[in-house]
């Protein structure tokens, strides 16, 4: 069981002069409760990976399955939910409730059931259905719109949730809201997050993949990256500042001990290394 990709590759415009190998031999397993963090710079293939994992693109090479069935657009429908970057651009309906109910309705739910699912999803993302349900989606602020768009995907009750840069462009309040949604979703689903910064979800991810040039340059746990932030170099990624500080200290020969993402703990590490503690 789970969303499983094995040795997946993908080429855009295969067979033409413009063909572009975007993915090569990517293996990823996401089960319920997992938080898989896929890190990569622009052009590393992470957006392609999302689309393949959502069944929107066929797997060129390798295989992909969801809960035992071969992954296709049909089998992914309603089972794998994908929240795109700047997801709020998909909002279109007259009311927020209608927009969030769009997904369930497409899956064949009766309008009343779809609206119930919409209410639940709105509550889950922290938008009170009674306050927001009747409003026009275009009247929402950036952060609210982003959450409404996420609700639109959650309303389909996917077993696997894929999020592409979910916190891009949000302020600290918005980012915190998204983090909470992700944690809540882990209870009933598996979550894959794709990002170009490690800061946000590294501490909560039980699996981390670093993509570079379409292939997996590193695969391990969040803890692996924390202990050795240089693993991110291969992806052209910058480690979180707190880790970078500890790493710089270690490079100078100071014994910092086990790295920590928590600034307080990191401070103690540095203090001890410098002999002040």
């Amino acid at each position: 069981m789970g969303l499983i990709l094995e040795g997946v590759g993908y080429t855009y415009s295969a067979g033409t002069n413009f063909s572009e190998r975007a993915l090569e031999g990517v293996t990823l397993t996401c089960g319920r409760g997992d938080l898989v963090l896929v890190l990569g710079a622009t052009g590393s293939g992470k957006s392609t990976l999302m689309r393949v994992a959502a069944g929107l693109l066929p797997t060129g090479d390798g295989s992909a399955s969801v809960d035992g069935e071969v992954l296709t657009r049909a089998s992914a429908r309603g089972v794998v939910g994908l929240v795109f970057q700047d997801a709020e651009s998909q909002l279109f309906a007259e009311t927020v409730a209608d927009d969030v109910a769009f997904g369930p309705r497409n899956l064949g739910a009766a309008t009343s059931d779809a609206l119930v699912a919409a209410r639940e999803a709105l509550t889950l993302v922290g938008l009170d259905p009674d306050t927001y349900g009747g409003r026009s989606p275009f009247s929402l602020s950036g952060g609210e719109a982003r959450r409404a768009a996420i609700a639109g995907v959650l309303a389909m009750r996917p077993r696997y949730l894929l999020l592409d840069e979910p916190t891009a462009g949000l302020d600290s309040h918005g980012r915190r809201a998204v983090r909470e949604i992700v944690e809540a979703m882990r209870e009933s689903a598996g979550v894959v997050i794709v990002s170009h910064t490690a800061e946000e979800f590294l501490d909560r991810a039980n699996q981390v993949l670093v993509l570079a040039g379409g292939s997996v340059a590193f695969q391990g746990s969040g803890a692996d990256i924390v202990s050795d932030p240089s693993l991110l170099d291969v992806g052209g990624l910058q480690p979180p500042d707190v880790l970078l500080a500890q790493q710089l200290a270690r490079t100078r020969g100071y014994d910092v001990g086990e790295f920590s993402l928590d600034p307080h703990q990191a401070a103690e590490n540095l203090a001890r290394a410098g002999g002040w503690l």
Binding site: A41, L248, A267, A271, W276, L277
Partner: protein, 272 residues
């Protein structure tokens, strides 16, 4: 001097009144970098639109080197002195090639071809886009697009530049490139107003102004802000992690200056 004098402005969508900015005073001198911080809804975007007369304040006034934004006859001169860069680069790029877009502003001023060429070349050099003159905008990366927009503003040779969250839509590389350009522009003597919700971006500023609910909640050196986490919290802003780390170090008795937010600078401060 770019001056906001006790400025207030409200939006009135269908009869309601939404106070966006209230009693804000602020100035930017040439060569100064002033950061404006605030969460969404704090009024910072409204401030940007008030800066060059896109919006006129209901109370108070906005002046650019002595010219008032409400002076309709002189608004063109005013807008030559103050360039504004908004958040979404695609909403500001007008022409079909990079150089044509940079030339757009100077073309509006009726400059002759030799001067147009000179301005375009200088501006592209200032933002690091030399060599991309004939490129079509949709083929540029996010960071390149934003630098193109900055070049377009710089081509007017403004004394002041206002940037509204220029990096919020960019990836780390794009953000680094844009911040580098901003630093360079400040070094070349322009007065810069950098509006953002990320404190880390304005740690090098001469001054930082924090807006909350349309009012000024703080005005002073960025370092002073680092030691006020409660204030930041109430304004919807986050303290940069390294600043938290430094605070803890100091609490542990480690001799290090407060207000360092860059990891490399911190390590140097500790062990150099």
């Amino acid at each position: 001097m770019l001056r906001f004098n006790d400025v207030s402005f409200s939006y009135r969508p269908s009869g309601r009144e939404v106070r966006a900015v209230r009693g804000v005073s602020l100035c930017v001198a040439p060569g100064e970098l002033v950061g404006v911080l605030g969460s969404n809804g704090s009024g910072k975007s409204t401030l940007v639109r008030l800066a060059n007369g896109m919006l006129l304040p209901e109370v108070g006034s906005v002046e650019v080197d002595g010219l008032c934004t409400s002076d309709e006859a002189r608004i063109h001169s005013l807008r030559q002195s103050i360039g504004v860069v908004f958040q979404h680069p695609d909403d500001q790029i007008v022409a079909t090639t990079v150089e044509d877009d940079v030339a757009f502003g100077p073309e509006n001023l009726g400059l002759d071809r030799a001067h147009l060429r000179a301005r375009v070349d200088e501006s592209l050099a200032a933002v690091g886009l030399v060599g991309l003159e004939r490129r079509e905008p949709h083929l540029l990366s996010g960071g390149q697009k934003q630098r193109l927009v900055i070049a377009g503003a710089v081509a007017m040779k403004p004394a002041y530049l206002v940037l509204d969250e220029p990096t919020s839509m960019l990836d780390p590389q794009g953000r680094a490139d844009v911040l580098a350009v901003i630093a360079q522009l400040r070094a070349s003597g322009r007065g810069i107003l950098h509006v953002t919700h990320d404190l880390a971006e304005v740690v090098e500023a001469d001054r930082v102004v924090v807006l909350r609910g349309g009012e000024v909640a703080f005005s002073g050196a960025p370092q002073e802000l680092f030691v006020r986490p409660d204030l930041l919290e109430s304004c919807g802003l986050e303290v940069p992690p390294v600043v938290v780390l430094v605070a803890r170090l100091r609490a542990l008795g480690v001799p290090v200056a407060s207000g360092i937010s860059d990891p490399a600078a911190l390590i140097e401060a500790l062990w150099d």
